[in-house]
């Protein structure tokens, strides 16, 4: 084996794993519903690929080769696999996919896996981790780091969820039309949770950050189910937030708030795409939580681009968001917008109304510190900021909160 052949085999195996992982898992687990067994079989097939491809050459259809070998590993379709390996795996894959795909309106098997992972019979807090593992092949340790739990606990939760899918009878199908809106909403929530996990731990090499994975899943959902404008809204929201990533830390690693970020560092292509998607979604005239959140980010951007004060429209959007999808996060963000609009006393009153639910909520204390500072109450602002710092897990954010007060 030459090292060049080995490395091209490695690259081909990695590319197949990255692009086809979820589809192969979905195909392998469809009948048995056994995701864990499918993962083991696919891991085994990938290991064999690395052993065989350098000598034999990379097959014309790496995905088909992996599927065939993994199927044989699972003990399914032995005869078919034997002939397939000999000659034309690509034809077998086509054949398999024809047999495996009764839903012509959902051409991507990964969507079925997304529906399975976010089935209401799966504990909500496991849905996003399960999706990241089953669809993208992320290991439990990396998921655990983003969700701030121990690898052992995350591993156990994932094993339990997969056993439940196998044993409880959760089907690998697309739900009927009348259930689809609610089930799509569950997928969106899981993708957004994945995006948010690790957001606060943005370090230079951000090992726990799942942004790229969440963006991939949001693209998948928007591409295949574009007739739900919320799917497009979610993709737009993630793009608009993600565009600012390079500007969120300065060269020394210190936290930079939105109103002080260097616009030259924003990823313009993402801003442009996010804005265009937001308009596409709006055409369908069915507003929702993610479209509103994307619109809020868009207004924040426009404020920075134009220097105009858009706090009035911003508060209006927060009001609509709170009507549609009430949450602590949105209520606190609305209060922060009130402070920015020069209405700090109203902001403080709004925050006070949330007090009993927010004593350990870092953004609430940070928003409170800002409102108190705007009202000139330095000692109280400092106390609130130090409380916020005490609740932050990110040293850079902690330093910012204390330095700013």
């Amino acid at each position: 084996m030459t090292s060049a052949a080995a490395s091209s085999a490695h690259i081909a195996a990695e590319a197949a794993a990255r692009t086809a992982y979820g589809r192969l898992i979905a195909l392998l687990a469809r009948d048995s519903r056994d995701i864990a067994a499918a993962e083991d079989a696919l891991a085994d097939a990938l290991a064999r690929a690395l052993a065989r491809w350098p000598a034999d050459g990379v097959p014309a259809s790496p995905d088909a080769w992996l599927l065939t070998v993994a199927r044989r590993q699972l003990g399914h379709g032995r005869a078919r696999a034997a002939t397939a390996l000999a000659a034309t795996p690509a034809l077998v894959l086509l054949d398999d996919e024809r047999a495996d795909r009764p839903d012509t309106d959902f051409p991507d098997e990964r969507l079925k896996l997304l529906f399975v992972c976010t089935h209401p019979a799966i504990t909500p807090r496991v849905q996003a981790p399960l999706m990241l593992q089953a669809v993208l092949g992320l290991d439990a340790a990396r998921i655990a780091a983003a969700f701030l739990v121990s690898p052992a606990a995350m591993g156990q939760a994932l094993v339990r969820a997969k056993a439940r899918i196998r044993d409880a009878g959760i089907a690998f199908t697309v739900p009927p039309a009348e259930q689809r809106p609610g089930r799509l909403a569950a997928i969106r929530n899981a993708i957004y949770v994945a995006y948010g996990a690790g957001w606060d731990q943005l370090e230079t090499d951000h090992p726990s950050d799942l942004a790229e994975e969440a963006l991939f899943l949001a693209r998948l959902l928007a591409a295949h189910v574009p007739d739900d404008p919320e799917n497009i809204g979610l993709l737009s929201l993630i793009l608009l937030c993600e565009a600012r990533r390079p500007a969120r830390r300065d060269a020394a690693g210190a936290y930079v708030p939105l109103d002080r970020q260097d616009l030259g560092l924003w990823q313009r292509d993402m801003v442009v795409e996010g804005e265009a998607l937001l308009r596409t979604a709006a055409v369908q005239a069915r507003p929702g939580r993610f479209q509103l959140e994307a619109a809020i980010q868009s207004l924040h951007n426009q404020q920075r681009f134009t220097g105009a004060d858009l706090s009035g429209p911003l508060i209006g959007l927060y009001d609509r968001l709170l009507d549609l999808a009430p949450s602590i996060g949105a209520a606190v963000a609305r209060a922060a917008a009130l402070t920015a609009a020069g209405a700090a006393p109203s902001a403080l009153a709004a925050l006070d109304a949330l007090a009993d639910r927010c004593l350990n909520h870092q953004p609430w204390w940070a928003a409170r510190a800002n409102a108190l500072a705007a009202m000139g109450d330095k000692p109280a602002a400092l106390a609130a900021a130090s409380r916020a710092a005490g609740l932050s897990t990110d040293p850079a954010v902690r330093a910012f909160l204390l330095g700013n007060a």
Partner: protein, 117 residues
């Protein structure tokens, strides 16, 4: 695959058997009839009222016989059926039609396949 649908009823729901028997039995027999007509019923039974239950435990060789169901819970076991459907969603769709699902609950559990028992 086969699922047991296990029906749990509240005291007020169970009392309707006496206070408005026609509405009570009408709803249950229509529901059971629909499952029968769909050809999915594989077994099951409705149970008499919880006070008719007798509970037995054997502790250190001693029989302990109690009057009433095993635990004094808010929802009582009212009966169960075993149905044959494709998957959990299909089973949940039948559970959703049970007369007790609004006031009480329905537990949906796969049965152990014959080759594993």
């Amino acid at each position: 695959m086969q699922f047991a649908l296990i029906y749990y009823q509240t005291a007020s729901d169970l009392a309707r058997e006496q206070s408005e028997p026609e509405a009570y039995w009408g709803a249950w027999s229509a529901y059971m009839g629909a499952m029968g007509a769909a050809g999915i019923m594989r077994g099951g039974a409705g149970l008499m009222q919880p006070p008719t239950a007798t509970t037995l435990r054997i502790k250190a060789g001693e029989w302990q016989v109690e009057d009433g169901p095993f635990a004094d819970t808010k929802e009582k076991l009212g009966g169960f059926v075993v149905i044959e459907v494709d998957d959990l969603d299909a089973a949940l769709a039948w559970a959703a039609r049970a007369p007790c699902v609004v006031d009480g609950s329905v537990e949906v559990r796969p049965t152990i396949p014959a080759d594993k028992a």
